[in-house]
């Protein structure tokens, strides 16, 4: 049985899928976190977030409070400082931030206001992917309400702190989700990543100190400030702190999205929440955190889904939204689909990525079409080394290699069969 747990991020979401607007949000305790934060000093808010162990929910899992502590503070700090909500959600298989923005837009705005206050930011942007038009409408409405009620703008709730918040609609391309590419996109440039250092915390948007944070990460902040770091740590059985939005798609009986304690076992997610595999299909593997994570297989089903345990199993928690591979679906075809995506979305800045992904995609397609030879498999196996971390300008290409390298490891026989039989055995 699923255990009954607190669901701070999603408990307000309405069954009818209508958004929670200001009045309802306030009645349910909304903006109490911001009120409490404004009574604290900014560095006290950062300390609280550090003690909560909140880590980024956008894929990389970096400790949030620690990231903030690199921002120059005090009288001599450069201004304006910026806070950016990364609402670019384009990782294939990922559908969690959209649910938060469409269902409870004020929760994001409150979280952003708290983060902005902690780093003494003057301006905040929501960087939203262009396709999320319903999110855009609801955020626009919520922003207007928040300004009206003095949660944004000049002298917020009489605290002396001022913050302007704008919605920016992006024009596409997955690489915009990478935080430095995102900053270039916000500056009206092509979205190529930037060299680090300097890190955005010191020199980010328009050269000013900038914090970029995932939507789900930010949505945790009102609750951490209201209820404290100990409460937050206690939510997770493995001690990493908090809950996580987990999603499952693929041929399971009940695909969906659930908020569960960080560290919930993979098996519970797949078998209880997602209802197990559809009749006539068998589980073969799962991408645990979106397209750019390594496959996990049967032997990993008892893995607690938190950062450390998933890493120990050889993958990454990533976005926490999983894609299930079943036995009626060709693993080579699935990896081809993924690498087609990555080849198309490469920003083209560095050679191993744009060239290597082009080759990767071609070879996988040749396997699917039955024209690949043994030597192609050797070339394919070399790609994860060619595009290993450190060999490319950003984390995009190493991420693209994660499903490939793990598929070669767990489904190697299936690759071989494509070559030997000169066809896709699933067609």
């Amino acid at each position: 049985m699923a255990t009954i747990t607190e669901r701070p991020l999603t408990s307000r979401l309405r069954q009818d899928r209508e958004p929670v607007l200001a009045e309802e949000y306030e009645r349910a305790g909304g903006y109490q976190g911001l009120r409490a934060a404004l009574r604290m000093a900014p560095n006290e808010v950062t300390d609280l977030v550090k003690r909560s162990h909140l880590c980024g929910r956008g894929g990389a899992g970096f400790p949030t409070g620690m990231k903030w502590s690199f921002v120059p503070m005090g009288k001599d700090a450069p201004h304006p400082k910026y806070l950016v909500a990364n609402a670019d959600e384009m990782e294939p298989g990922t559908f969690k931030d959209r649910a938060l923005m469409e269902g409870d837009p004020h929760q994001l705005i409150e979280g952003m206001a708290i983060a902005a206050y902690a780093i003494e930011a003057d301006i905040a942007f929501i960087f939203l992917r262009g396709e999320y038009q319903l999110s855009a409408r609801r955020l626009t409405q919520a922003l207007a309400e928040a300004y009206e009620r003095h949660y944004l703008g000049r002298n917020i709730l009489g605290s002396g702190y001022s913050l302007e918040m704008y919605l920016h609609i992006s024009a596409g391309r997955y690489i915009c989700g990478e935080e430095t590419a995102l900053l270039n996109a916000l500056e009206g440039k092509r979205a190529h990543p930037r060299a680090k250092p300097p890190f955005p915390q010191v020199s980010g948007l328009f050269g000013k100190p900038t914090i970029v944070q995932n939507v789900e990460t930010l949505c945790n902040l009102p609750h951490i400030v209201s209820k404290g770091a100990e409460w937050f740590l206690g939510l997770s059985p493995t001690g990493e702190g908090g809950t996580k939005l987990f999603g499952v798609s693929g041929k399971v009986k009940k695909p969906g999205l659930w908020e569960l304690p960080l560290g919930a076992p993979l098996r519970e997610l797949l078998e209880e929440h997602a209802g197990g595999m559809r009749d006539g299909t068998r589980f073969r593997g799962v991408l645990p955190g979106g397209a750019s994570t390594d496959f996990l297989v049967d032997e990993h089903l008892d893995t607690p889904m938190d950062y450390a345990h998933v890493a120990k199993a050889g993958s990454r928690l990533g976005t926490g939204t999983m894609v299930v591979l079943d036995d009626q679906t060709c693993p080579v075809g699935m990896v081809w689909n993924l690498e087609h995506f990555f080849a198309q979305e490469s920003c083209g800045w560095c050679t191993p990525c744009w060239s290597g992904l082009g080759w990767t995609e071609k070879i996988l397609l040749a396997m699917e079409e039955g024209t690949a030879v043994q030597h192609d498999l050797e070339i394919l196996k070399f790609q994860p080394k060619f595009m290993a971390p450190g060999n490319t300008f950003c984390a995009f290409a190493p991420g693209a290699m994660e499903p490939l390298q793990s598929a070669l490891k767990y489904f190697g026989d299936d690759f071989q069969r494509h070559i030997k039989e000169k066809r896709c055995p699933w067609r």
Binding site: T94, F95, E131, I169, A171, G188, P255, L325, L338, E345
Partner: protein, 163 residues
Amino acid sequence: MLSPEVVTELLSVEEREEIEAEAAHYPVRRAVCIDAMLIVQRHRGWVSDESLGAIAELLGMSTADLDGIATFYNLIRRRPVGRHVAMLCDSVSCWIMGYNRVRDHLCKQLGVPMGGTTADNRFTLLPIVCLGACDRAPAMMIDGELYTDLDEQRINTLLERCE
């Protein structure tokens, strides 16, 4: 270079007002260029050479510079599209859940390949990456509205609704 008068002619008052409102959010004027192109596209369906030139002039950029940015972003259209735009998700969860079947059906019903526009200019059919509806795959967007759990029947109903 276009004269200010020509810019005034090429961009509507509404378009210019919307662009200026967005421009106020940034410390440098050219930062608004992507917003500007999306604004023009919302009004006209696409960004023509004339519109591009006018936006560049308005923001003090070269046309080549702006076109280089336009072509980077897949949601900025430098070619005209049909009255309706259908964007079918071709990413992993939708692929597993029957993308190929749905695509073939769409192409057959509309009589165009992916990327094509129907002869009567009614529809443009484009591929798109994951729409964040993977639990209700296959998914597509028509004119900015999301439709999920697609099958042949549902596609027929959706297409019939679009004049």
